[in-house]
């Protein structure tokens, strides 16, 4: 009898929930890489995005409206991303998309501009920051939370310059870009090389290694021969682990610097001592931090981990930030009428240097303007310490990259 009562109550709850859901729905597409070349970080970020949207729905949605989101794992294959996009813009059009990779995001730039769908990507390619096409192809509907890859790399070059001085290096330090021949690692290549040259670095020929983890001893030997002092690793964490391990075997003395997706706590553990000393870009608070906004982050984390025990690596927080900026823009759009793509885009411009409510101290203050889609140019540089099985990291540098107008879109 008790069981039947419970079932009945559940049925009523489902019915009530069902009618509440039927009230209003805002369709959102979520493109994630859970099984492809970048899945090592794609899983962490994608989980952050999915948890954040689930949490918003559980807590009343957007002023009563539910986020009807669909998560699609496209395995980091551009054609699959495009066919998914076509599906989402078919009979029921999504209001916004939470995307992922650089290849697919850059391929979709003109599609989302034509269909007027704000696209919040996991790609921070500098090419996506120029809404009016002053320097490169216009990307009016592309947004991302975090410093662009180019600005991140510039910050690392700044750090390297100071590190070189601090260590008492003489002559010109040598800088090398390492990454796959793929839109994502290529995105900051030219911009960062130009900046390094300006800062007095000797810029070497880039070294290519695959985004898919593998054996990279050949590349490590080239790196050793080149005697580079600073190597910028433009791939994602899975590939970084392989490279660090291969280079440890070969005996490379280069200082490694990673992109924002280059490494995280999970991959530090996998790379072991090979990761010690590596610096990389972090774009939000970390799981160990005590920022006020971390309380909300931990609640969101419980959506997929009710025990609250799971450790979330740095990418998770950026996934949440990406969703919450979209959420606040949708709320502003909703106040003034319908939540359309155009309205969301305009709402993104309403505030200056803001942090979504509840995430204070987690997301870096960001602001977008109709002429500049660089949300933030502040870059936090962290250094890994994995000696003796630790996975520690500490902030070693904060750079504020100037909003140079010539750098827009690069």
């Amino acid at each position: 009898m008790g069981k039947r009562m419970l079932l009945g109550a559940a049925a009523v709850a489902v019915l009530v929930g069902g009618t509440a859901q039927a009230a209003e729905k805002i369709a959102v597409g979520h493109l994630a890489d859970y099984t492809g070349a970048t899945s090592s970080v794609g899983k962490i970020y994608g989980q952050g995005v999915a948890d954040a949207m689930a949490y918003i729905n559980k807590n009343g949605g957007l002023a009563g409206a539910e986020l009807a989101y669909e998560t699609v794992d496209y395995s980091y294959e551009v054609p699959r991303a495009i066919s998914t996009y076509k599906k989402w813009t078919g009979d029921d059009k999504v209001a916004a998309i939470q995307g992922w990779g650089t290849g697919d995001t850059e391929a979709l730039v003109s599609f989302v501009a034509k269909d007027k769908i704000p696209y919040f990507s996991g790609s921070y390619s500098g090419h996506l920051t120029d809404p009016n096409g002053k320097n490169v192809k216009a990307a009016p509907y592309n947004f991302f939370y975090g410093p662009s890859y180019s600005d991140g790399c510039r910050a690392l070059v700044e750090w390297a310059g100071e590190d070189w001085k601090a260590k008492g290096g003489s002559g010109k330090p040598k800088f090398v870009h390492m990454g796959d021949n793929h839109p994502y690692p290529n995105a900051p290549k030219a911009a960062c090389a130009a900046y390094a040259k300006d800062k007095g670095f000797d810029v070497l020929e880039p070294i290519q290694y695959s985004l898919k983890p593998g054996d990279f001893k050949a590349q490590c030997l080239s790196l050793k021969d080149s005697a580079a002092n600073y190597a910028y690793l433009a791939n994602t964490a899975g590939s970084t682990i392989s490279l660090l391990k291969s280079c440890e075997t070969v005996g490379v003395n280069t200082q490694f610097m990673g992109n924002v997706w280059g490494i995280d706590e999970t991959s530090m553990k996998a790379a072991g001592e090979a990761a010690t000393g590596m610096v990389w870009v972090v774009g939000s608070a970390t799981w160990q931090d005590d920022a006020p906004g971390m309380k909300l982050v931990r609640e969101i984390s419980k959506m997929s981990d009710p025990s609250g025990q799971e450790y979330r690596a740095v990418h998770y927080m950026r996934g949440i930030c990406s969703v919450y900026y979209m959420k606040e823009a949708m709320e502003i759009a909703k106040q003034s009428g319908k939540v359309t793509g155009e309205a969301i885009k305009q709402a993104m411009y309403q505030k200056k240097d803001w942090v979504p409510a509840g995430l204070e101290g987690v997301c870096l203050p960001s602001g977008w303007t109709p002429d500049d889609h660089r949300g933030t140019t502040q870059v936090l540089v962290y250094q890994a310490d994995t000696k003796g099985g630790k996975t520690d990291m500490k902030k070693v540098y904060t750079a504020n990259i100037p909003r140079n107008p010539e750098w827009l879109g690069q």
Partner: protein, 360 residues
């Protein structure tokens, strides 16, 4: 060739060689084919809120269309000429990039760049087909494997032609200044190409060259004794296969609007082989059946898995794996139980009903 002999009703017999080589064995089968095309012509129509097929279903039909065209090329090469190619996806990709490059850089309208892309791909296919003049079997398979990797690497590096790793935009198809870019209108472009290419393919097999292909496959030594130039026909077969692949690829490129180097991996080459094996080697109609099977199988799997997800929640998580596994399983099962493919099964079914209830 049991698979191609057709079942005819009592009293129907052929009195001339021409009648024996008609595309459609009976008037009935021709009428059915015409009816199918007519039905497809009205399929994408949308009258007010009413629609025969949803946009997603149209999308699947378009996929079947451009893949079928490319698969027919491979079927002529593998099923009819007895050669092997593990690089068909690369030629498919070359067609897509060629058409995008032509329309972006020369100002030639997409209407013309699609056949031109077919010709460019033919030229490349003829070059990569040269090893076929000397080697056979597994050795040829590995040689064509090389073409897959050479072309894939070319796509990722040739910035001037493919846009390199960033890929290339492909302009929408226009006809008399009218843009046919939505699924519902692009469907007609693919359908038109499908009909034309399949009539060409079927007619090719009825011609002297087509018979030479089959002779090369069935017994190359006898064919040579009969005066067939083996080198010429083997390389020509690669050229023809590449032409079909190029047309299919170009249609694909302009459909997506964007061509990326990643889309044409060895996996797609294997899938093309899967399509023709499942459909029936050497069968024109089997090619469409096999392609439809390969395109629809993952969709059916997805539909089935989401339906079962209430019962077995773990099923949706393993869906990506299930889809790939299902394709592999389908190929194995077909090789064991139906080596002549779907086309043969279809003939058996027809024969069963024609003889019903006195089948033996």
């Amino acid at each position: 060739m049991a698979a191609t002999t057709s079942m005819m009703r009592c009293g129907e017999f052929k009195t001339s060689y021409a009648k024996d080589t008609t595309i459609f064995p009976t008037p009935m089968s021709r009428n059915f084919a015409i009816l199918a095309v007519l039905l497809l012509l009205i399929a994408p129509l949308q009258i007010g809120d009413f629609q025969f097929l949803s946009r997603y279903q149209i999308n699947l039909l378009i996929q079947i269309g451009y893949y079928s065209i490319a698969a027919l090329g491979l079927n002529i090469l593998v099923g009819c000429t007895g050669q092997i190619s593990l690089g068909h996806a690369a030629f498919f990709g070359f067609g897509a990039f060629s058409s995008a490059w032509l329309s972006n850089n020369t100002g030639i309208p997409v209407f013309f760049t699609i056949p031109l892309a077919g010709l460019m791909t033919t030229a490349v296919g003829l070059i990569f087909g040269v090893p076929a003049a000397r080697i056979k079997g597994l050795y040829l398979a590995i040689a064509t494997f090389a073409s897959q990797f050479i072309l894939e690497d070319f796509f990722a590096r040739a910035d001037w032609f493919t846009g390199g790793s960033a890929g290339a935009m492909a302009m929408p198809f226009t006809l008399f200044g009218h843009e046919l870019s939505g699924d519902r209108s692009y469907f007609y472009v693919v359908l038109a190409y499908l009909v034309v290419m399949f009539i060409c393919g079927a007619n090719l097999l009825r011609s002297r060259d087509g018979r030479a292909f089959v002779a090369v496959r069935d017994h190359y030594l006898s064919a040579e004794v009969m005066g067939i130039n083996l080198t010429k026909y083997r390389i020509l077969s690669f050229g023809v296969a590449s032409f079909f692949a190029g047309i299919g690829g170009a249609l694909y490129g302009h459909y997506l609007g964007y061509v990326s180097a990643e889309g044409f991996s060895i996996l797609l080459s294997i899938q093309f082989l899967g399509m023709i094996i499942i459909g029936g080697l050497g069968s024109v109609m089997g090619t469409i059946m096999g392609t439809a099977f390969m395109v629809l199988l993952p969709e059916v799997m997805e539909f089935g898995a989401s339906g079962l997800s209430g019962v077995a929640p773990g099923l949706t998580d393993g869906l990506a794996f299930l889809k790939e596994a299902a394709i592999g399983l389908a190929i194995i099962l077909f090789l064991i139980f139906e080596p002549d493919g779907l086309a043969h099964r279809w003939k058996m079914t027809k024969a069963y009903w024609k003889l019903y209830p006195f089948s033996y």
